[in-house]
Symmetry: C2
Subunit: 219 residues, 2 copies
């Protein structure tokens, strides 16, 4: 049974994990027979956004791990305590949380840094030659940690340019497909960076999950 | 194009909508070509629960509609303003929110009442002979509003007994299937009332969506 860590970043696309993307990934992993462990940083979110209005709520604080537990139905661990040896692969769904809470990309762009617990796990998994899947805006982490990696965030020129500045090679990619850097074992897909709808996003994520599991079982 | 209202009750299974169930329903509806409008009551949640510990958080309040907007990516309307003529069918995912925020079933059991906006819409849709799908614990609404209806919440004797006390006819049902009351055009499936996992829950919800859409297009 392939053991996959899924790194969440809250619960809701404006301040945390994109909910559709994460549930589609969890469903696809379960259907493929993988064993999943959800992970998240145990720290305050960068902000809390009212998803009806799109406005940040001044003075409100929420914890990334506690909110991510809503998606994980309570079955979630602090990513800072995760051990790369316990996983055959890792997948990181998108949502602004992947650029606000897993890294500072939403604020600092090409000068961003990655959350220490997330960085430690992703580096160790990568160094062990295990695959990592990045969805939507989550490839910002790959650009920072694995310079020269091939990846996609869809087609947005500004975001793609920021990833190129960080040393990544951006490949334009339609929503129903993915980009695979075979050498780095890094897989990415655009999801809601492109949209337009949940079934389109699901098509790409299901293929990404399949590719990550294929890489996890190949030498 | 079949127009389907999806009534959400927050965001997270312990105090709102079950996230997996709602996303699976939205994905299935999109794949079947339905046009979806998410709806929720604009009022405070009954409570806010820490999904890591399972404990209610004293003193914290969240709004049902604002939290549900996380699942709906902001595309959501107040259910109190919904017009039955705008929908060919309605689906209500589960989670404790369907028994805490859409009704008082979690607290009052067989003596529970339904949120006025939800009651008005469901009664009008039902009287117009349009189908309604209820997932997980959401059939508590059908038991209250449509006495004598055939439904399922899976196999839990206590919950089934409460629905029977309200006048419903409970049918035991496996997670990958559904119960259809053809006369009432009410479809229900157990989902996380039974579990055990997301792929099992998805199997039942996808069939429920198919059955609701079939009923919506039959005279």
């Amino acid at each position: 049974m392939t053991r996959v860590g899924v790194i969440l970043s809250g619960c809701g696309y404006l301040d945390g994990t994109e909910i559709h993307e994460s549930v589609i990934a969890l469903l696809s992993l379960d259907r493929e027979g993988a064993q999943v462990q959800c992970l998240a940083p145990d720290k305050p979110q960068l902000d809390v956004v009212d998803h009806r209005t799109g406005e940040a709520i001044a003075g409100e604080t929420r914890n990334v791990l506690v909110e991510a537990a809503r998606i994980a139905r309570g079955e979630i661990e602090d990513v800072a305590n995760a051990n790369a040896a316990d996983f055959d692969a890792v997948i990181v769904p998108g949502g602004y949380g992947a650029a606000k809470n897993l890294s500072s990309f939403a604020v600092e762009g090409p000068d961003s840094t990655v959350d220490p617990g997330v960085e430690k796990l992703l580096r160790a998994v990568h160094e062990a030659r295990k695959p990592i899947g990045f969805i939507c805006i989550a490839p910002n982490l790959a650009a920072r940690l694995f310079p020269g990696v091939d990846l996609t965030i869809g087609s947005d020129p500004e975001t793609a340019g920021a990833l190129e500045t960080m040393g990544a090679h951006h490949k334009a990619c339609p929503v129903e497909s993915f980009v695979c850097d075979e050498k780095a074992k890094v897989v990415s897909c655009p999801a809601y960076m492109l949209g337009p709808g949940i079934k389109d996003v699901a098509a790409g994520i299901e293929k990404l999950v399949g590719e990550v599991l294929r890489l996890a079982s190949s030498p």
